[in-house]
């Protein structure tokens, strides 16, 4: 192999598990490509990288990456990852999952992990729908978009994901689309190198369900939309980045702040109160 630089994604994937289940034109694979490159750039030792997913099309990422990886239950990747991160403070724990998994069924866990500043990077593939189960409505389905359980168009308000995690105290918050592969890779690298709870929203096409039902063409057309309607605004106020149906998209790195992590806070507090009686928490070496 010497001389031929290996494609980082080949190194990352469990090749024996290919082909993957994702549809042609789906954006999840593109995000994984960016992730593989980010791991190279961030110089992450694969032995100390653990990937946790919930359930969904995006939740299958854990099954394809050739590192310690855990495919858990629907919505509960974050609490599993919390326990794992507690046991392995030296490791980089990444949660890779979908909008429904992380913000509907798993919403409560997400806000608390951000509040506690658990040391993990959460990558949320937002395809505006529940892919795995056939295109139902999700907390990010834009107003008026159709879903199998919103046959007359969605009438609920949506979550503005960056704003929500920002309010909960995340130390790094970014949003990109899968058109923005270079920027997405750079933000992933940054997130991986930032201790504490970091969050990246990745807007991604789901041609098979969301787009077909909403007559939005194929994967390429969605990427075209991402390209045409996105503006990069690093440091934007997250309150101003809500999304509408096929409307303008603000992308960028919105939040960077410093806060001690859960384990740092624990060790500091106990040290202060218990002094020598305290045995600093180190997890599994």
């Amino acid at each position: 192999m010497s001389g031929t630089p290996q494609n980082p994604v080949e190194k990352l994937l469990r090749t024996e598990r290919m082909p993957h289940i994702w549809c042609p034109g789906c954006g999840i694979g593109t995000s994984v490509n960016c992730f593989a490159r980010a791991l190279e750039q961030a110089n992450i030792d694969y032995k100390n990288l653990h990937v946790v997913s919930g359930i969904g099309c995006s939740g299958r990422v854990a099954g394809y990456v050739n590192v310690d990886s855990f495919h858990t239950t629907h919505g509960r990747a974050i609490p599993f990852a919390t326990g794992l991160a507690m046991a392995r403070p030296e490791a980089k724990v990444v949660v890779y999952s979908g909008d429904g998994d992380l913000f509907a069924i798993g919403g409560n866990h997400l806000i608390h992990a951000a509040r506690r500043n658990i040391d993990m990077t959460v990558i949320c593939v937002n395809n505006f729908t529940y892919g795995m189960t056939g295109g139902q409505v999700t907390p990010t389905t834009p107003y008026s978009a159709k879903a199998s359980t919103m046959p007359y168009g969605n009438f609920e308000d949506t979550f503005n994901l960056p704003n929500l995690v920002d309010a909960c105290g995340a130390v790094f918050v970014a949003r990109w689309t899968i058109y923005h592969v270079r920027q997405l890779t750079r933000s992933m690298t940054k997130a991986l190198n930032t201790p504490g709870f970091s969050f990246i929203e990745v807007l991604s096409p789901c041609p098979t369900l969301y787009q077909r039902r909403n007559k939005l063409g194929d994967g390429v057309m969605m990427v075209q939309y991402f390209k045409e309607r996105s503006t990069i605004e690093n440091g934007a106020n997250t309150a101003d980045v809500a999304l509408g149906f096929q409307g303008d998209i603000v992308v960028g790195e919105f939040v960077e702040r410093e806060r001690p992590t859960f384990i740092q806070n624990y060790n500091t507090r106990m040290e202060q109160v218990l002094g020598d009686a305290f045995v600093p928490y180190e997890g599994v070496k």
Binding site: R14, R17, Y46, K47, N48, H50, V52, A62, G63, N66, V67, D68, S69, F70, H71, T72, T73, R76, P79, F80, A81, T82, G83, L84, A85, M86, A87, R88, E90, A91, N108, H109, H112, Y266, M270, L274, A277, F278, V279, P280, Y281, E282, G283, V284
Partner: protein, 385 residues
Amino acid sequence: MKADPKAVNTGTHFIDGNEACAEGAIAAGCRFVAGYPITPSTEVVEHISRRFPRLGGLFIQMEDEIASSICFQGAIWGGLKAMTVTSGPGLSLMMEHVGLAAITETPSVFVDVQRAGPSTGLPTLPAQQDIMQARWGSHGDYEVIALAPNSPQECFDHAITAFNLAEQYRCPVFFMMDECIGHMLGKVKIPAADQIEVVARKFTSRPAGEFEPFRIYDGDQPEMVRAGMGHAIHTTGLTHDERGYPAMNPQTQDTLIRRLRNKILDHTDEISIYEADQIDGSDVTIVAYGVTARVAEYAVHLARKEGLKVGLLRLTTLWPFNDRLIREVADNTKSFIVAEMNLGQMVHEVERASRSKIPVHLLDHAGGGIIEPETFVKKIKEVVR
């Protein structure tokens, strides 16, 4: 291996069952607990949260029981011994993760200090109503281990047993206390650390690339591994092959599900802890567990003083159910009274296992109090007559 002398609170203590349970878990090597407060179990996590900072352990109060019941599994795959602690309503919320622990063969301890239900029921008042939920609560076919202690001393001793069984059999292990036992004050003797036998986690020594986390190499349990050992393991709640990779077909399902069942049921005798007292030639044998077995002991003593021939079978291991034991007892007594603080859960197992050879009577209680000794004696007389 022996317990860690720095962690074991050796000595004679006057403490309640909940605190004894926490000390037992600590002696067994538990260093991570995720929980959510619920009466009557809360003292367990309160005690843990006081003790752990002095032991290098970590307690985290999660946002709910759904989170707690998977958070501690993350810590286990990170290499720690860990448990979660709850009571009825919380146990109901945990059920999906009991199934996850079963299919991923996670050595997990679920402490359940039972109270009366359904729903919010009678908070702070005792019951033994979670027996069937512990056995069948998550969807699908799987086996669990469940133990019911009947004194603060046993809360300490058998919390250790629970952790040891979890490591040996790699399945969910329920520690089924109840409000009476949890809040019962008593003398608890905590031995020296070198007197406490602890089953260490058996991590694989196979090199990376030559190890599959769900393959049986020796015996009938796969070898344990943790994140960070360089094996790039994968676990999933999906039906999976020996590599841990999803394999969604009826053959893999059949192989996996039967193995998960047999790895426990084939060892029922070794897992089974019980006490049989004066059963041979008795007119009636009482079957009881937990606090009910404690009252039964006294009631049997009263009945025997009146000349009644009463045997007592106290079950500490509830699951897997020891059919063989019940059949043998049925050959040596004339009838059974199953006493439990529910409207009849274990009684079905006794009926099934004894194959209707002899009459099986139920002494029940809807929860909120114990079955009084006099009630026992009355029932014994009814049955014998």
